[in-house]
C-alpha cells in the first residue's frame, strides 16, 4: 500500500481517523490565531481539500457549516456594535443612542460609540469560530462520523452501536413526523400550532417504539451480545480505563487550547489520557470475540494526511506559546494584519492531501469518465 515515489496512490477510501486527525489539527491551528489572513487561508485549504477528495454521493456538510460560521460572524459583530466589546478603539464610526445604566454596571453598556477597532476585533473573533466550523464541516464531508464510529474501541462497542442506531433512527423519526403531519390534513387539520404538535407526538413516538422493538428482535435474532467471554470485572475495568482515558484527553486538549488554564492541565494530562485510553483498548480488545468487517488499512497515505494536519497545529500552538508576531495581530490602532510567512507555510502543508491523498474510488471513476 505504500505509494511509490512519483506515482499517485491507488484510488481508495482513506481511514476515517486520518481525516479526523487532519481536520482536528487544522481546527486547533485555527483556534490559535485571530489573524484574518491565516484564518481565510485555513478555510480555503479546507474547502480545496473537500473539492478534491470528497467521495461522489457523500453528503457535503461543509456548506451548512460555512453558513453557520457566517452567521456567527454577523452575530458577533452586531452584538459588539450594540453592547461594546473589550476593545476600546479611537476611530469612532458612528454613535448609537446610549441607554443610561446605573453606575454599578460599569463596563456594560447598551448603545453608544461604535469603533472601527471594536468591530474589527469582533470580526476576527467571529472569523476564528467560522474557520474552526469550516474544518469540522470539511472533515464531515471527507469521512462521515458513521465511518469513524466503526472504529470505536471494542470496550465501547455497545455505546458505539447505540449511537449508530440513534443516527439511523433520527432521520426516520423526522420522516415519520412529516408523514404524521401530512396525515393530519386528512382529518381536516393543518398540523400547525402547539396543540397539534402534542397530537403528532404520540403517533410518532409510538411508531418509533414499535420500530425499536422490531430492531431489537432482529438484533437479538442475529446474535447481538451473544458471546461474552469477558468477566464482568474485566469489562468494568476496561470500560473505566477507557472513560478515564477519554476524560484525560478531553481535559488535556482543553488545557492545551485554553491559554488561561494551568500548564499541568495541558500536555501532561493529554499524555496520561492517551496512555489510559490505549491501555483500555488493549485490555478490552484482548478477549473480545467479535470480529470486524473490512477494516480500512492504516498505511502511508494515512500517515501523510494525519501528519499534514498536525503540522499547522503544532506550529501555531508553538507560536501561541512563544507569542510569535503576526499570530494575534494588534487591534489598536487598526491596521492591515501582517503576513507571517512561516505560519502561512505551515497551514499550506495541510493542503497536501488535496493532491497527495488517494482519490476516493467513485470520484476516480467519474473523473476518468469525464477525461
Amino acid at each position: 500500500m505504500t505509494p511509490r515515489l512519483g506515482s499517485t496512490p491507488l484510488p481508495r477510501l482513506l481511514h476515517p481517523a486520518a481525516w479526523w486527525a487532519w481536520g482536528v489539527g487544522l481546527a486547533v491551528a485555527a483556534s490559535q490565531t485571530t489573524n484574518p489572513l491565516l484564518l481565510a487561508l485555513v478555510v480555503a485549504v479546507a474547502a480545496w481539500v473537500v473539492l478534491e477528495r470528497r467521495e461522489v454521493g457523500a453528503t457535503n456538510p461543509l456548506v451548512p457549516f460555512l453558513l453557520v460560521g457566517l452567521f456567527a460572524i454577523g452575530l458577533r459583530v452586531v452584538m459588539v456594535g450594540l453592547l461594546g466589546g473589550g476593545v476600546t478603539g479611537r476611530v469612532v464610526l458612528f454613535r448609537l443612542p446610549e441607554v443610561p445604566l446605573p453606575a454599578w454596571t460599569s463596563g456594560v453598556r447598551i448603545g453608544g460609540a461604535v469603533t472601527l477597532e471594536g468591530l474589527l476585533a469582533a470580526l476576527y473573533e467571529g472569523l476564528r469560530l467560522a474557520a474552526i466550523l469550516a474544518c469540522l464541516g470539511a472533515v464531515n464531508a471527507l469521512a462521515s462520523p458513521r465511518r469513524l464510529l466503526r472504529y470505536v474501541p471494542a470496550t465501547l462497542y455497545e455505546v458505539g452501536t447505540a449511537v449508530v442506531v440513534a443516527l439511523t433512527f433520527a432521520p426516520q423519526m423526522v420522516d415519520d413526523a412529516a408523514r404524521v403531519r401530512a396525515a393530519r390534513r386528512l382529518r381536516g387539520h393543518t398540523g400547525r400550532g402547539l396543540r397539534e404538535i402534542g397530537r403528532l407526538a404520540v403517533p410518532v413516538l409510538v411508531g418509533g417504539l414499535e420500530r425499536s422493538l422490531d430492531l431489537a428482535a432482529s438484533m437479538e435474532a442475529r446474535g447481538y451480545g451473544r458471546v461474552v467471554r469477558r468477566s464482568a470485572a474485566s469489562t468494568r475495568f476496561a470500560a473505566g480505563l477507557t472513560l478515564v482515558g477519554l476524560l484525560g484527553v478531553v481535559v488535556g486538549l482543553y488545557g492545551l487550547l485554553d491559554a488561561t488554564s494551568p500548564a499541568v492541565l495541558g500536555l501532561p494530562m493529554l499524555v496520561v489520557g492517551v496512555l489510559c485510553a490505549g491501555a483500555a483498548l488493549v485490555v478490552g480488545a484482548r478477549r473480545d470475540p467479535r470480529t470486524r468487517y473490512r477494516r480500512d488499512p492504516w498505511a502511508g497515505p494515512e500517515w501523510l494526511v494525519s501528519l499534514s494536519g498536525l503540522v499547522p497545529a503544532v506550529v501555531l500552538t508553538a507560536g501561541a506559546v512563544l507569542s510569535w508576531p503576526g499570530l494575534v495581530p494588534h487591534q489598536v490602532p487598526a491596521g492591515l494584519p501582517p503576513v507571517p510567512l512561516g505560519m502561512v507555510a505551515a497551514i499550506a502543508v495541510a493542503a497536501l492531501p488535496a493532491v497527495a491523498a488517494p482519490v476516493p474510488p467513485l470520484l476516480a471513476r467519474s473523473r476518468e469518465a469525464a477525461a
Partner: protein, 573 residues
Amino acid sequence: MISFDAVGVSYADTSDDRDASGHGAPGGSAGGAGTTETTDTTVFSGATFRVPEGELVLVVGPTGSGKSTLLRCINGLVPHFSGGTLHGTVTVAGRDTRTHRPRDLADLVGFVVQDPLSSFVTDTVEEEIAYGMEALGVDATSMRRRVEETLDLLGLADVRGRPLRDLSGGQQQRVAIGAVLAAGPRILVLDEPTSALDPVAAEDVLATLHRLVHDLGITVVVAEHRLERVIHHADHVVLIGDGRVSGLLDPADAMVTSPIYPPIIGLGRALRWSPLPLSIRDARRRASEVRESLALLPAPSPTPARPAALDGELPEGLDGAAVARVDGLSVRRGSVVALRSVSVAVAPGEVVAVMGRNGAGKSTLLSALVGQLRPSAGTVRLGPLDPSGARPAEVVRRAGMVPQDPSLILYAESVAGECTAADRDFGLPRGTTAGVLRRIVPDVDAEQHPRDLSEGQRVSLALAVILASEPDVVLLDEPTRGLDYAAKRRLVALLQQLAATGHAVVLATHDVELAAEVATRVVVLAEGEVVADGSAASVLPGSPAFAPQVSKILHPLHFLTVDQVVAATGAAS
C-alpha cells in the same frame, strides 16, 4: 430440523402483554381475544409437527391467528424476547429453545422480520450483511468471502455500497434475507416477506427463496397472506386458526379445507377439480375444457357497480361529471420527478385502481389529490376546489384518504374515543362515525386501543373515520396490506357499495386480485407517467405482472374473477 412437540403459547392478562409479540401476531379475533375475566390468553396450543431439512413450509392462517407467534417460537423470540408462556418443547437441530436464547440460535436460524427497514442496524448494504457475522465472531477473511458470496447469491453486487434507505422495497427485502443468510444458518424464517412488494419484486424475492431451498438445501418457513404468490413454491403447509395448529400437510390437501385460499384454489374448488392445481401451469392444463365451453359464451360483463352512463372510456366524455381530475400534473420530490404530466379524471361511481411498481408515483398521485403535495405543474381539482391551496377542513368534505399505514390518522386511546374525535373534527352530529363503523365491522370492541386491533379492523376504523363526512372521492393507499382473504372480501363489498351510492373510489394497490375484483378502471403508472388507462378487463389481462390468476388460467378469454367464471358456467350448465 425443526420439531414442535405439543407446543402452545399463552400470555397472562389482556391486550397489553400480547402486544409485545409483534405486529398482528395475536391481537385479533382468534385465540380468545376479548375475554376480560380469564387471566390467560392462549394464542395457539397443541402444535406438533416436524419439519425435515430442505423444505419450504408455508404457514397459513387468518389475520391475528398467531402466525407471527408461531414463527417466533422457532428461534426462541417467543418466549425469551416477547414474554408469555411456552408450553411443550421446540427443538431446532437438537437445541431446545427453552434453554437457548435467540442469540444462541443465531448461527442456526435466520429470522427476517416483516418490515426490513426497521431491522437494519447499519446503513449500507455491505455492512448490514457483515453485521451478523461480526456479532458471531467470524474471522475477517471468511467474513469477506461470505459477504461476496451472499452479494452474488442475492443479486445485490450492484448496490453493495448504497445506503439501505435508497433501495427499492424488493432490494431491501433481499438485503434483509442476505443479512441473516451470510451468517450461514440452516433455517430461514420469514414473516410476510412479500406483503409490501409489487408483484415483480415479490417474484424476485420468492425466486431467491426457491433457489436457497433447492440449491443450498436450506429449510425455509414462511408466513404470507398473499397465497397466490407463494403456494406453488411450498413443499408443505401448516394451517393455523382458532387457536389450533395442523401438522405438516400437503399443499393441495391443505387447500381443500383451508379457510384462506387464493383465487386459483377458489376456481379449482368451484369447478370441483381434484387434486387442486397450485400453479398456473397445472391449472391451465386442467382448464382446457372449461376454456372451450366458456369461449362459446359472450364475454363477461365488467364489474357490476359501474353505472351505464359512464361507460365511455374517454376522459372528455366525463368532463361535467368528474369529481376529481388532474390535468398535466407534475410533482417533484427533491431531485426526483415523481409524476410527469399525468391527466386523469374520476367520475362518481367509478372505482379506479392505480397500479405500478414501488416508486412509480401511485402514492404521490393520491397525496396530490388530497392536497398534501403541491404540484410543480398542472392542476388538481376536486370539483371546483384546488386542494393544495384550500383549507384541510374544506378538502376533507370532498376527498378523504386512508393512508398506507392507517394508524397515521388514528390518535385516540380507544375506538370509541376515535369515533367521537372524528365527529368533532368533521363537525358531525355525535355518533355518526360510530354508526359508519358498525356498518363496516359490527363486532369491534369500542374500548380497545386502535393499535391493538387486527390489521383489517384498523383499516376499517380508518375508513369509517374518513367515510363519516361522506366525501365525494374516497382514496385508499394499499388497503389490503396485511388483510386476509375474508377481510379483503368485506372490503371489496364495502367499496362496491360506496361506488353504487355515487362515491368515486381511487385505490393505489399492488394487489392484482383486488383490482380484478373491484376496479371498474385501471390506471397503470410507470416512472411517473400514465402508461395504461382503461377498463380492468382491457388493461389487466394483457400484462404479465398485473394479470390476475383467473385471467392467466383462462387466457385468452377475458375473465378476471372466480365469481365471473361461476356466473358464466352456471349459466352454461
